[in-house]
């Protein structure tokens, strides 16, 4: 029957479309990541080390403020050694953070970075950061952690202060706590 065949091929095409769209839903995850890194959407910065050539623009000053938040489920102390610093775009800078494991046992922590305003995120590049990987802490260990970064000279004029926030999570209990 020609009608049955016509149905079958159209149903086939529509099923392919359905499966493709289901896949597209998952594909949105990496696409979103790429999109965020390009545009700085959601305050997202680069998640891996980047190589950037220095081209200092000494005529301009940008204030970098560090904000640290320790998730209440993480038994840690975590703070920037200096609350803020003034930098020139295109020049490499170092900052140091100190974290201390308050628990009497081995812990794995993850620092999650975010930049505000969101228009600044794409212009804030981390060369080296403790946030690229999760960090292991022995019981009661205290450790200094380095950050090396550069502010892109293309930073829009309407931004003169960049806030870099780290939220410090204990990777283990979050899932368990969420269930409560």
């Amino acid at each position: 029957m020609p009608e049955k065949n016509a149905h079958r091929s159209l149903v086939g095409q529509l099923l392919i479309l359905t499966v493709a769209m289901f896949g597209f839903g998952f594909l949105l995850v990496p696409l979103y990541d790429v999109f965020c890194e390009i545009t700085g959407f959601g305050g997202r910065t680069n998640p891996e080390a980047a190589v950037v050539a220095e081209a200092p623009d000494l005529t301009r000053e940008v204030r970098i403020e560090f904000v640290t938040t320790v998730n209440s489920y993480a038994q840690f102390e975590f703070a920037a050694n200096a609350d803020s610093m003034t930098v020139s775009p295109g020049k490499m800078y170092y900052a140091t953070f100190t974290a201390k494991n308050l628990a009497g046992e081995h812990k794995i922590a993850q620092a999650v970075p975010s930049v505000a305003p969101s228009g600044a995120a794409e212009h804030f590049t981390k060369i080296e950061c403790f946030c690229f990987t999760s960090q292991e802490f022995a019981a009661s260990e205290e450790r200094a952690m380095p950050l090396q970064f550069i502010v892109n000279p293309e930073l829009p004029d309407y931004i003169d202060t960049i806030t870099l926030q780290y939220t410090f999570f204990d990777t283990a209990p979050v899932a368990a706590v969420l269930e409560n």
Binding site: S114, P117, D160, Q165
Partner: protein, 261 residues
Amino acid sequence: MIRNLLLGFSVLALADTAEADWALNMPKGVTELSLETYNLHMMVFWWCVAIGVAVFTVMIISLFRHRKSKGAQAATFSHSTTAEVIWTTIPVVILVLMAVPTAETMVRMEDSRNPDMTIVVTAHQWKWHYKYQDSNIEYYSSLARSSVEARRKGTDIDPYSVENYLLDVDNPVVVPSGAKIRLLFTSNDVIHAWWVKDLSIKKDAIPGIVNEAWFKTEQVGTYRGQCAELCGKDHGYMPIVVEVVEPEAYQAWVNSHDAGH
């Protein structure tokens, strides 16, 4: 139906001119940007009224004149390119007229340059935490005691007997007038939103992410708001109070806070 609409519109129009206590409209707020936002809101509103009046007038005329009971004979036309081109282009023009001032305001909202002070707002289920970046002042801000007792199911307390029922906190945010205040938002658990309508600020507080907003006002006063993103069972019970005070009073508050610690 038509009467309802007209009533609604006239009431809203009235509220605009009369500034009644009976809050019907968006407040003008106390910052430049909240006023601009209000003006944008009213501009779009009046465009909508104008378009609505035009479309509904034609429709109502038609409903009365072109009815069978009045002996109307149906015409047979079913398209008119001229008419369709007109009612596609005119809305486009109106939209452009709306979009231009809106975009200008949005650019100004993004301009957070040269803040005088920064407060980090961290949302918790179900309270706010404020940390003044430039001093060591930090504290939690929760629903005021008076409301805590009155909000319970089956309580004898009449909500009307509680001043600022559900809109009062134990520790308000205190800021000086005339200063540009930058707020940074993040969350400890789920997503919340910090909303104070008179400041025209509503920003999501999201775990792992920092968001930014700012305001500056000369008007001393107390401004109230609430959490605006569903955040669990006590979402309705995490109000916000911002007290804008004279700079000297602010300094006194800072000093007393330091003394208290």
